[in-house]
């Protein structure tokens, strides 16, 4: 009943096949398979049959030594030499289906053109699959290398055994073959697969990892593995999934969070051609977590009929307490809270003593509104409930979350929920929340058929897990040279933890660590604080999360201090950072050891970006200016210089952006460049026009006309990305480009116009 689709090259089209059955079919009798100790893939492969029906040879799968392998890795070598590598993390433009397998392929000395990447289903035995927090490369770099090196060693040992020569005389060279130095003999990986599979799995200490100078793929630019299929419009995305007999659903969600259906008249909806039935979905039990919002679903035989039918529903809603949420009043409350002492997050020295001395004090308030993710693919999912088992196809950053939430909602066991991960048409954090997949499962159970839930753009924007609104207050006591002697900063925002605890009002340690608990400046007396805020909408993480508003406030304030001191903002920023040293940003001990916060690296990226931008060569003013901001997030150091032209009417043009990045070792520099080019555009969107507001609990925006995002003609024309060559451990890449962008842009606007932007977006300040 599942439509299997293969492209002309016989490459796997991932969208709607059961990948496990594909893998069973793909692995022929003498395939060499390496994987996690308890991987279900291995178990299935071991007991499976070949495409022709013959049982796999028991010896085709090596004995698994759990200590020799890391979770999350699956690698198979076919007798024809094809190497299969599972990408267990989600592809959403982050490039993980290219960068992760290339790490394995490098240590394996595999020919990249003979590697097939397979998307892993949701399975806890892979380890974490929650693709957020810019984790993929940094968390799996070492395990992936070790897996490739393990397979390489086993192939070398197989060749040595076959030739009857010492292992030391055999090398994997150049690619995909093992050669014997003495006799010029070679054996291909495919030829060696069966024998390699019989080798004992080497212990970790036996592995010889390459030195960086020997890397052939790591650190070298590579195009996306799927670029041809993407450009061909292949059915890769969740929205593209088609299952035989599938029904389509559009859901009228409660306009206010926590709202319930009072009454519904579906008579007009039922008259729409193609509409089959309507189904009420229960409201959530607080806290809302990842539960469906509730509402009324219209089920039809195509998407259009479902959407049209939904428009015809006449629903009376009971809106509940959040109907009193009004953004204007709420903003006033947040700002008021930010002016009062809050909960202390971190203190250095004695800021109060310094402030009480009565010297010069500079203070400022900043504000940033809610944002919606607005990924180009609105949420969508297909679920097929069959008795105790459920199969879900979903664009999700969090397939194990899909399993958990569907299991919880339907009262089933998690292991009975299969989640196939499709490509994501953008995620940015929204698709870590599986509420829409749960909706599909609820509706499939009710209809007895596979159901595809499609969110419209209006659903996506109105019912998002919004990036938090935030108000911030900063003050500094200034010495005679204009340098801060004491610094106090306070931020107030409804926390993400309100998703899981309805009474949560303070930012979590995690949110405080995103650019707020400590600043990278040489200030002897410092205190960070956080004030209470109650949520009235669903709050979620969005690309770089609290770093967005925290970096906006801190980096704008630093710029204000520079002007107050009568100094060049870049020189002043370097003075603030001071001579490089390690600072304690309250990281967990293991992170602090591997990734100490070294301000030398922050200083270095600032210098790189400023030099590339020719900082200071042209005088700012008269509608032209440059601004700079630095920020470290997800362990990566970033500096961004933005150049602006502002005309008399306030129209802002961004001809150039210069970014410098120190992310440690990078897996794929071209992908890193893409991510930072994209982050500048993402930053442009939020800084220029990004604003979600509510009136009586209902979100005011609905589509790209009232929630505009950057288009080609208002995005930066050119984004230059310098990547620091480094031997430091890999750090995050997907998110860290976003936080410094808005403050660099607003600082540039100040340089160009003398008008200070303390509230986002620019449209609130007379700019467009």
């Amino acid at each position: 009943m599942i439509t299997l689709e293969k492209s002309s090259e016989d490459k796997i089209v991932i969208v709607n096949v059961t990948r496990r059955s594909f893998l069973q079919g793909a692995l022929s009798a003498s395939a060499f398979v390496l994987c996690v100790g308890k991987s279900p893939l291995l178990a299935k492969a071991a007991t499976s049959t070949t495409p022709g029906g013959a049982p796999l040879t028991p010896g085709s799968v090596p004995t698994i030594d759990a200590t020799a392998f890391h979770p999350g890795v699956f690698l198979g070598i076919q007798p024809d030499g094809t190497v299969l590598i599972v990408a267990h993390r989600t592809e959403m433009g982050n490039g993980v289906r290219t960068s992760l397998p290339r790490i394995v392929a490098d240590e394996l000395d595999a020919d990249w053109s003979r590697v097939k990447v397979i998307q892993g289903d949701g399975d806890e035995r892979y380890g974490s699959q929650d693709t957020d927090g810019s984790h993929s490369v940094r968390e799996f770099f070492d395990p992936l290398r070790e897996t490739g090196a393990t397979a390489r060693l086993m192939l070398i040992r197989a060749a040595a055994q076959q030739w009857g020569v010492p292992e030391a005389q055999c090398v994997a060279d150049p690619v995909h073959v093992v050669s014997h130095k003495g006799s010029n003999r070679t054996l291909g990986y495919g030829e060696l697969a069966a024998l390699a599979a019989k080798q004992p799995v080497p212990r970790k200490e036996e592995l010889k990892l390459k030195s960086p100078s020997e890397w052939r793929y790591i650190g070298k630019p590579a195009p996306g593995y799927d670029v041809t299929d993407v450009c061909a419009g292949k059915p890769l995305f969740g929205m593209d999934v088609r299952i035989e007999g599938m029904l389509f659903a559009a859901i009228a969600h409660p306009p206010v969070l926590g709202g319930k259906v009072k009454s519904v008249d579906d008579s007009a909806a039922m008259k729409v051609k193609g509409v089959k039935q309507t189904i009420a979905i229960d409201p959530f039990t607080p806290p809302h977590q990842f539960q469906p919002l509730g509402g009324v679903a219209v089920i039809a035989d195509n998407t259009w009929s479902a959407l049209k039918g939904r428009d015809q529903l006449k629903i009376q809603w009971e809106n509940g307490a959040h109907a009193e949420y009004n953004s204007t009043e709420y903003k006033r409350q947040l700002q008021e809270t930010a002016r009062q002492p809050g909960k202390v997050v971190h203190t250095i020295g004695d800021p109060d003593a310094e402030f009480s001395k009565g010297g010069k004090v500079i203070e400022a308030e900043y504000y940033a509104p809610h944002l919606a993710h607005a990924s180009m693919e609105p949420p969508a999912a297909v679920a097929d409930v069959q008795g105790e088992k459920v199969v879900v196809w979903s664009p999700t950053q969090n397939p194990q979350g899909v399993q958990e939430e569907v299991a919880k909602k339907l009262g089933l066991k998690k292991e009975n929920i299969t989640c196939h991960v499709t490509f994501l048409g953008g995620g940015f954090g929204r698709k870590s929340k599986p509420d829409y997949a749960v909706e599909a499962a609820v509706l499939s159970k009710q209809t007895g058929k596979p159901v595809k839930v499609v969110w419209s753009r209006e659903d996506d924007i109105k019912f998002d897990y919004f990036h938090s609104v935030a108000a911030m207050y900063i003050k500094a006591a200034i010495d005679e040279k204009g340098m801060p002697k004491a610094w106090l900063q306070r931020s107030v925002f409804p926390p993400i933890s309100s998703t899981f605890d309805k009474d949560a009002v303070y930012g979590s340690d995690g949110e405080m660590s995103l650019g707020w608990n400590v600043i990278p400046f040489d200030v002897p007396n410092f205190r960070s604080e956080n004030g209470k805020a109650v949520n009235h909408v669903r709050i979620g993480w969005l690309r770089s999360v609290a770093n967005i508003y925290h970096a906006f406030a801190v980096q704008t304030f630093a710029n204000e201090l520079a002007y107050a001191a009568g100094r060049d903002p870049y020189d002043y920023l370097l003075a603030l950072i001071g001579p490089g040293h390690t600072i304690d940003v309250k990281q967990p001990p293991d992170v602090a050891t591997k990734y100490p916060y070294d301000t030398t690296r922050l200083r270095h990226v600032a210098e790189l970006a400023a030099n590339k931008a020719n900082w200071g060569k042209k005088k700012s003013g008269d509608g032209w200016g440059m601004g700079i901001a630095v920020h470290r997030s997800f362990l990566t150091y970033v500096a961004t210089v933005v150049e602006v032209e502002v005309d008399k009417g306030g129209a802002v043009r961004i001809p150039n952006v210069y970014t410098a990045v120190d992310a440690g070792i990078v897996a794929n520099p071209d992908m890193v460049r893409s991510q930072f080019q994209g982050a500048a555009v993402f930053g442009t969107s939020l800084a220029r026009t990004g604003e979600i507001t509510a009136t009586n609990g209902v979100i005011d925006q609905s589509n790209f006309h009232d929630y505009p995002v950057a288009r080609m003609n208002d995005a930066p024309v050119s984004v230059d990305v310098q990547i620091v060559e480094s031997t430091a451990p890999p750090a995050g890449v997907g998110e860290p480009g976003v936080p410094p962008f808005a403050p660099a842009l607003c600082n540039a606007i100040y340089a160009a116009t003398g008008k200070r932007v303390r509230e986002l977006p620019l449209t609130r300040n007379g700019f467009a």
């Binding site: 959403m92 433009g93 195009p223 996306g224 799927d226 670029v227 041809t228 993407v230 450009c231 061909a232 419009g233 292949k234 059915p235 890769l236 995305f237 929205m239 593209d240 088609r242 389509f248 051609k273 193609g274 195509n302 998407t303 259009w304 009929s305 959407l307 049209k308 607005a374 990924s375 180009m376 693919e377 609105p378 490509f423 994501l424 048409g425 953008g426 419209s456 753009r457 071209d670 893409s674 991510q675 080019q677 994209g678 982050a679 500048a680 555009v681 993402f682 969107s685 589509n703 790209f704 006309h705 995002v709 950057a710 288009r711 080609m712 003609n713 208002d714 995005a715 930066p716 050119s718």
Partner: protein, 151 residues
């Protein structure tokens, strides 16, 4: 009954004439390369060619396409990738890729009327197509590369 050609094949449709071409292509014909992004002709993800010129299929109703020739991403080239697709791959434009088929259709339409577009031409023609990943810089480079390759 509506008669139209999709990627060279004659088709008939006797359903709801208000159904957008987008959903006909995706749900009825199974041509899912044309994407749903906004439903209001605001983002360009649904761009197809009508008699060779880019249109938004999400706001084009089936009642309006009688006798038209529609080309989708699946039908732009009978023999291997189209020059624009090749340029897209060469520049490694896509991130998530969702909007890229619409971008490619728009670029094909641009190059058919302006084989050597200026930056201003590219801005004018492409600014109706949103890419949330922010690949505009590479889209511009790929259009220029395609123009050069075709010259």
């Amino acid at each position: 009954m509506v008669h139209l050609k999709v990627n060279g094949s004659a088709q008939t449709f006797d359903g709801d004439p208000e159904m957008p071409l987008l959903w006909y292509l995706r749900d009825i014909l199974g041509l899912t390369g044309t994407k749903f992004g906004c439903g209001m002709a605001l983002c360009g993800s649904c761009t197809v060619l009508e008699n060779g010129k880019a249109i938004r299929s999400c706001t084009t109703q089936m009642g309006q396409v009688e006798g038209r020739e529609i080309t989708t991403i699946e039908g732009i080239s009978a023999h291997g990738p189209h020059a624009v697709q090749k340029a897209w791959a060469e520049v490694n434009v896509p991130q998530c890729g969702y909007c890229q088929t619409g971008q490619i259709m728009q670029a094909i339409s641009l190059l058919s009327s302006k084989p050597h577009p200026t930056d201003g031409d590219i801005d004018d023609e492409m600014s109706g197509n949103i890419c949330r990943c922010g690949t505009y810089q590479r889209i511009r480079a790929a259009i220029k590369l395609a123009a050069k390759e075709r010259a």
